[in-house]
Protein backbone atom coordinates (compact mmCIF):
# COMPACT_ATOMS: atom_id res chain seq x y z
CA UNK A 1 0.00 0.00 0.00
CA UNK A 2 1.33 3.43 -0.92
CA UNK A 3 2.03 5.88 1.88
CA UNK A 4 0.05 9.15 1.77
CA UNK A 5 1.49 12.33 0.34
CA UNK A 6 3.02 15.11 2.41
CA UNK A 7 3.41 18.76 1.41
CA UNK A 8 6.18 21.09 2.58
CA UNK A 9 5.56 24.55 1.15
CA UNK A 10 4.95 23.81 -2.54
CA UNK A 11 6.73 20.45 -2.66
CA UNK A 12 4.41 17.42 -2.66
CA UNK A 13 5.79 13.92 -2.34
CA UNK A 14 5.06 10.53 -0.84
CA UNK A 15 5.90 10.25 2.85
CA UNK A 16 9.08 8.46 3.75
CA UNK A 17 8.79 5.36 5.92
CA UNK A 18 10.06 7.37 8.89
CA UNK A 19 7.53 10.16 8.33
CA UNK A 20 4.74 7.63 7.94
CA UNK A 21 5.75 5.91 11.19
CA UNK A 22 5.67 9.28 12.97
CA UNK A 23 2.23 10.00 11.53
CA UNK A 24 0.89 6.66 12.77
CA UNK A 25 2.47 7.27 16.16
CA UNK A 26 0.69 10.64 16.37
CA UNK A 27 -2.65 8.81 16.30
CA UNK A 28 -3.47 9.39 12.64
CA UNK A 29 -5.58 6.68 11.07
CA UNK A 30 -6.82 5.81 7.63
CA UNK A 31 -10.29 5.34 9.11
CA UNK A 32 -12.39 7.87 11.01
CA UNK A 33 -11.74 8.17 14.71
CA UNK A 34 -13.29 9.89 17.72
CA UNK A 35 -11.65 12.74 19.65
CA UNK A 36 -10.33 12.50 23.20
CA UNK A 37 -12.61 14.71 25.24
Amino acid sequence: MARPNIQIDDEVREMTEEEYAELIESGWTEEPTEPDE
Partner: protein, 193 residues
Protein backbone atom coordinates in the same frame (compact mmCIF):
# COMPACT_ATOMS: atom_id res chain seq x y z
CA UNK B 1 1.93 53.72 12.20
CA UNK B 2 -0.56 55.96 13.89
CA UNK B 3 -3.94 56.84 12.43
CA UNK B 4 -3.99 60.04 10.41
CA UNK B 5 -7.11 62.18 10.13
CA UNK B 6 -7.40 63.77 6.70
CA UNK B 7 -9.14 67.12 6.38
CA UNK B 8 -11.55 68.34 3.70
CA UNK B 9 -9.73 69.38 0.55
CA UNK B 10 -6.38 67.99 1.68
CA UNK B 11 -4.18 66.59 -1.09
CA UNK B 12 -3.70 62.84 -0.72
CA UNK B 13 -0.04 62.23 -1.48
CA UNK B 14 1.56 59.03 -2.67
CA UNK B 15 3.46 58.81 0.60
CA UNK B 16 0.29 59.05 2.67
CA UNK B 17 -1.49 56.57 0.43
CA UNK B 18 1.29 54.04 0.85
CA UNK B 19 1.66 54.67 4.56
CA UNK B 20 -1.94 54.97 5.69
CA UNK B 21 -4.20 53.44 3.07
CA UNK B 22 -2.09 50.73 1.48
CA UNK B 23 -1.11 49.25 4.81
CA UNK B 24 -4.09 47.90 6.70
CA UNK B 25 -4.15 46.34 10.10
CA UNK B 26 -3.33 42.88 8.75
CA UNK B 27 -0.54 42.27 6.25
CA UNK B 28 -0.44 39.15 4.11
CA UNK B 29 2.63 37.04 4.96
CA UNK B 30 2.25 33.77 3.07
CA UNK B 31 -0.13 30.95 2.21
CA UNK B 32 -0.53 27.71 0.37
CA UNK B 33 -3.01 25.46 -1.38
CA UNK B 34 -2.93 21.71 -0.82
CA UNK B 35 -4.64 18.65 -2.24
CA UNK B 36 -4.85 15.03 -1.06
CA UNK B 37 -2.07 15.25 1.55
CA UNK B 38 -1.85 13.78 5.06
CA UNK B 39 -0.03 16.86 6.30
CA UNK B 40 1.03 20.25 5.01
CA UNK B 41 3.88 22.36 6.39
CA UNK B 42 3.96 26.08 5.71
CA UNK B 43 7.47 27.48 6.08
CA UNK B 44 8.55 31.03 6.95
CA UNK B 45 5.13 32.15 8.13
CA UNK B 46 6.35 33.87 11.33
CA UNK B 47 9.13 36.45 11.52
CA UNK B 48 10.39 39.40 13.51
CA UNK B 49 8.20 41.91 11.69
CA UNK B 50 5.07 40.94 13.64
CA UNK B 51 4.26 39.73 17.12
CA UNK B 52 0.68 38.57 16.48
CA UNK B 53 -0.72 36.66 13.53
CA UNK B 54 -4.04 35.71 12.00
CA UNK B 55 -4.24 32.23 10.45
CA UNK B 56 -7.10 31.36 8.12
CA UNK B 57 -7.74 27.67 7.36
CA UNK B 58 -10.20 26.22 4.85
CA UNK B 59 -10.00 22.43 4.92
CA UNK B 60 -11.99 19.37 3.92
CA UNK B 61 -11.11 15.71 4.01
CA UNK B 62 -11.53 12.50 2.08
CA UNK B 63 -13.12 10.59 4.98
CA UNK B 64 -16.88 10.42 5.20
CA UNK B 65 -17.23 10.76 8.95
CA UNK B 66 -15.71 11.97 12.22
CA UNK B 67 -12.71 13.80 10.85
CA UNK B 68 -11.08 16.86 12.38
CA UNK B 69 -7.72 18.56 12.29
CA UNK B 70 -5.09 20.39 14.32
CA UNK B 71 -1.81 22.21 13.70
CA UNK B 72 1.64 22.26 15.25
CA UNK B 73 4.18 25.06 15.51
CA UNK B 74 7.62 24.32 14.15
CA UNK B 75 11.08 25.40 13.14
CA UNK B 76 11.59 24.88 9.45
CA UNK B 77 10.20 21.49 8.46
CA UNK B 78 10.49 20.13 12.04
CA UNK B 79 7.28 20.48 14.05
CA UNK B 80 7.12 20.68 17.83
CA UNK B 81 4.88 17.80 18.90
CA UNK B 82 4.74 18.28 22.68
CA UNK B 83 4.10 20.96 25.28
CA UNK B 84 0.63 22.04 24.15
CA UNK B 85 -2.51 22.59 26.17
CA UNK B 86 -5.36 22.90 23.73
CA UNK B 87 -9.05 22.27 23.51
CA UNK B 88 -11.65 22.82 20.81
CA UNK B 89 -15.33 22.67 21.72
CA UNK B 90 -17.93 21.93 19.10
CA UNK B 91 -21.62 22.77 19.31
CA UNK B 92 -24.51 22.13 16.94
CA UNK B 93 -25.43 25.21 14.92
CA UNK B 94 -28.17 23.25 13.16
CA UNK B 95 -30.11 23.16 16.42
CA UNK B 96 -31.68 26.59 16.63
CA UNK B 97 -33.77 25.97 19.71
CA UNK B 98 -31.21 25.06 22.34
CA UNK B 99 -27.49 24.88 22.92
CA UNK B 100 -26.40 21.40 21.93
CA UNK B 101 -22.90 20.16 22.68
CA UNK B 102 -21.52 17.86 19.98
CA UNK B 103 -17.98 16.91 20.95
CA UNK B 104 -14.55 18.29 21.77
CA UNK B 105 -10.89 17.69 21.07
CA UNK B 106 -8.47 17.96 23.97
CA UNK B 107 -4.92 17.90 22.66
CA UNK B 108 -1.36 18.04 24.02
CA UNK B 109 0.31 17.38 20.66
CA UNK B 110 -0.85 20.52 18.86
CA UNK B 111 -3.42 23.26 18.59
CA UNK B 112 -6.90 21.86 18.03
CA UNK B 113 -8.93 23.35 15.19
CA UNK B 114 -12.15 21.43 14.56
CA UNK B 115 -14.20 19.18 12.30
CA UNK B 116 -13.50 18.86 8.62
CA UNK B 117 -16.19 17.16 6.61
CA UNK B 118 -16.13 15.02 3.54
CA UNK B 119 -15.52 16.82 0.23
CA UNK B 120 -16.00 20.51 -0.31
CA UNK B 121 -19.57 20.48 1.00
CA UNK B 122 -18.23 19.63 4.44
CA UNK B 123 -15.40 22.13 4.49
CA UNK B 124 -14.24 23.39 7.86
CA UNK B 125 -13.19 27.04 8.08
CA UNK B 126 -11.16 28.23 11.03
CA UNK B 127 -9.64 31.56 12.04
CA UNK B 128 -6.97 31.52 14.70
CA UNK B 129 -4.94 34.31 16.27
CA UNK B 130 -1.43 33.28 17.31
CA UNK B 131 0.43 35.47 19.77
CA UNK B 132 4.24 35.75 19.89
CA UNK B 133 5.17 32.57 17.97
CA UNK B 134 8.49 34.04 16.80
CA UNK B 135 9.44 35.39 20.22
CA UNK B 136 11.19 33.11 22.71
CA UNK B 137 8.30 32.83 25.12
CA UNK B 138 5.06 30.86 25.45
CA UNK B 139 2.83 31.01 22.36
CA UNK B 140 -0.89 31.51 22.94
CA UNK B 141 -3.61 30.82 20.44
CA UNK B 142 -7.37 31.25 20.22
CA UNK B 143 -9.86 30.85 17.43
CA UNK B 144 -13.25 29.97 16.09
CA UNK B 145 -14.87 28.46 13.04
CA UNK B 146 -17.33 25.96 11.69
CA UNK B 147 -17.26 22.58 10.03
CA UNK B 148 -19.30 19.49 9.29
CA UNK B 149 -18.74 16.68 11.79
CA UNK B 150 -19.59 13.01 11.26
CA UNK B 151 -21.60 13.89 8.18
CA UNK B 152 -24.44 15.01 10.45
CA UNK B 153 -23.60 18.02 12.59
CA UNK B 154 -22.95 21.50 11.29
CA UNK B 155 -20.80 22.61 14.18
CA UNK B 156 -19.70 25.94 15.52
CA UNK B 157 -16.27 25.77 17.13
CA UNK B 158 -14.40 27.75 19.71
CA UNK B 159 -10.83 26.71 20.40
CA UNK B 160 -7.92 27.86 22.53
CA UNK B 161 -4.41 26.67 23.16
CA UNK B 162 -0.98 27.29 24.60
CA UNK B 163 2.47 26.06 23.64
CA UNK B 164 4.43 26.11 26.86
CA UNK B 165 7.96 26.18 25.49
CA UNK B 166 10.13 29.17 24.61
CA UNK B 167 11.07 28.15 21.09
CA UNK B 168 11.04 30.79 18.36
CA UNK B 169 8.73 29.23 15.75
CA UNK B 170 8.69 30.08 12.05
CA UNK B 171 6.43 27.41 10.56
CA UNK B 172 3.18 25.48 11.05
CA UNK B 173 2.14 21.94 10.18
CA UNK B 174 -1.54 21.10 9.62
CA UNK B 175 -2.67 17.51 10.15
CA UNK B 176 -6.02 15.70 9.88
CA UNK B 177 -6.66 12.89 12.34
CA UNK B 178 -7.60 10.57 9.52
CA UNK B 179 -7.12 10.32 5.79
CA UNK B 180 -5.94 13.14 3.60
CA UNK B 181 -7.14 16.71 3.18
CA UNK B 182 -7.63 19.51 0.70
CA UNK B 183 -7.73 23.26 1.18
CA UNK B 184 -5.87 26.48 1.81
CA UNK B 185 -3.94 28.24 4.58
CA UNK B 186 -3.34 31.98 4.66
CA UNK B 187 -1.22 33.80 7.24
CA UNK B 188 -1.47 37.51 8.05
CA UNK B 189 0.58 39.58 10.46
CA UNK B 190 -0.95 42.28 12.61
CA UNK B 191 0.81 45.60 12.29
CA UNK B 192 2.50 46.74 15.46
CA UNK B 193 2.55 50.45 14.67
Amino acid sequence: MAIKTFTTGEVLTAADTNAYLGNGMAQYVTGTTFSNVASVTLLSCFNSTYDNYHLSFNVYGNSSASNYCYFQLGVGSTPTTTGYYSKGMWFDIGNAATFAYVNSDGRTTGMSLGPIGFASAGEGSYDVDVHYPFVSRNTRMSGHGSGLYAGVYYTGVTTAGLQTGTTSFDSIKLIPVTGTMYGTIDVYGYRKA
